[in-house]
Symmetry: C2
Subunit: 190 residues, 2 copies
Amino acid sequence: MPRWDPDARERLVAAALQLFTDQGYDNTTVAEIAEQAGLTKSTFFRHFTDKREVLSAGQEVLSRLFAEGIAAAPPEATPLSAIAAGLDRAAGAMTDFNRELGPRLHAVIATSAELQERAALKQVGMAAAMADALRARDVPPLTATLAAEVGALAFKEAYSNWVADDNTEDLGSLARTALDDLRASVDNLD
Amino acid sequence: MPRWDPDARERLVAAALQLFTDQGYDNTTVAEIAEQAGLTKSTFFRHFTDKREVLSAGQEVLSRLFAEGIAAAPPEATPLSAIAAGLDRAAGAMTDFNRELGPRLHAVIATSAELQERAALKQVGMAAAMADALRARDVPPLTATLAAEVGALAFKEAYSNWVADDNTEDLGSLARTALDDLRASVDNLD
């Protein structure tokens, strides 16, 4: 048994990833995922519209958390400080469950062009969610878009360090470090 | 007759877009595209692997042009100056044909989640191509990734202004302006 106490949603994700890894994404049905998780198909469909969504639901959740964190930043926060608040909010919601399953999820996505395409659209969507949240704070559009890209890069870099085997730092502090590194890189652009 | 002198490839793209627009992407076959262009199916397959590729081939070409322009920049060029050289190279290859068909291509892509997903992956690929070309110039990885995102944003902004109905500026000068605007935005991030 895994050491976390999984709810239905996490059990479905874990079961789906196990099956995708063992027998391939294309060969796996929703019925098999539900059975493997010890749940019914209708429970599956309360959480996900189809098996593809199991793989991209995390990116949707992250987009929402980024946007919430940015919206909740103090009014005087600079664009990158608001981004930092968004990264904090998202990092705070990521658990050991995410850390363990992330690399397996990426391995499954890497097996299929169709899955990579969907993941890319969600990735673009994460930056767009941050840019929208900044524009709602009256950050000028181009600055908002640029700050959002910096935020997306910071999260990607931090996440990739977080799931590394030898990492012991928490995701939030890795995200802060990545954002600081990007701030420093800005000075080397020209 | 259009005023450009289309070669087989351009005729195929124009025919495909016409059919996708008139009868829908899903309802259009490669045989119909070839017939509409006055060419054979085997000519189609010398240019494209399938009908989806008609929509993304332009992004592949741009990725190559960005990379070539960056590689050809003077050794002393800063990351953003090398990006500017990449944008110049790509802008110089874009013709009236691209300007006229671009908006119709985007309208077709907007009709289908599958097509949007593929376009997103190609978009991510364009930034990755620029970052790779910068790293080949010994630009540090994080700076290269950031500069590439700035370049991708500049091109996107310039392209969107270029295809606007009332625009009279050429794409190259619009790209320079967009890059300068982004340079200025960098100062407002913090």
